[in-house]
Symmetry: C2
Subunit: 199 residues, 2 copies
Amino acid sequence: MRTRQELIRAAAEAFALRSYHQATIADISEAAGVSPGGLHFHFTNKAAIAEAVEDEAAQLLRATCRDARSGAHTSLQALIDASHAIAALLSGNIVARAGLLLGQEPTRSSKLSLHQEWAECIHLLVRRAVEEGQLSSDVSPRDLYTAVLAATVGLEALGRGDGRWLTPQTLASFWRLLLPRICPPHRAVHLNPTGTAAR
Amino acid sequence: MRTRQELIRAAAEAFALRSYHQATIADISEAAGVSPGGLHFHFTNKAAIAEAVEDEAAQLLRATCRDARSGAHTSLQALIDASHAIAALLSGNIVARAGLLLGQEPTRSSKLSLHQEWAECIHLLVRRAVEEGQLSSDVSPRDLYTAVLAATVGLEALGRGDGRWLTPQTLASFWRLLLPRICPPHRAVHLNPTGTAAR
């Protein structure tokens, strides 16, 4: 199991740094300190390692959303917290980052879509915020879903070139702008744009 | 000149469909209906064609921003119009789309950054909106710049998988959410979230 994890990590690094097509099986086994035979015991080919990277990235993403949902006092705060947690995950975890990139390789067909996973997390939390009566009455849940999904996907894309786009400061800046629009003042004061963990 | 344009277009299609690394010089010359000798008359190698694609994409983007700036009655409307025009450009123009993708290839080093060009267009228009007194006093220009850049870059990334993210409806949905937050009601009524052209 440990060898398998080391191979997944080494493959994620190679894919993120050199792209899926440029990275070779030899690069990956060497970086993991595993013999080619050892690699083939775990994975039949490069496509199989890429699938394992995506699979682990999806699990990390799901766990991150789940933790944010259970840790916050309202669904709107959970949405803020989830966006911070995903940004932190993408900043600090190469497997998560590589998994997201692999899903966007035009020549691969992914079974999973990490964007889709994240979209579902946002969708669920916006719906719950509506049920909890958190949103201002003139806010369309669909518009809010679109804006949060687009902005967070955009920060990830920008963050590939410059990590500052994925810092808590940048996320907080987005929420500071949005919060007064999406909920009434007496609710907004109870929300922390920098995330619950940062309180 | 026409042959050169045909090669740029064929290369953009090959890069967008099959990725920069997978596309070959032979693919490109064949798709353009140009002999390998004809291709080499215009471009020394694949990297040179990719540079030409990026260069043309940057020119298209700059022209789109310039047109939006000159066609709108206020800088805030120009910002809305520019976001719609860029989305339409990315939906309809393969060279613009491929140019943006090439800039994100981890193994290429681009002289240009199309994200940077777009960021500068937004930056300029937000600054002018401040100078024109268009923004509400409690809106940070920096926060607005961040949100608009992140959301539009995100819509582009999502639009690669599903073109509906780049439709005027989706852009309008973003601006409908944002406008009541960023300018006072007496100004918001004069702004069209679907863009000036759609009036």
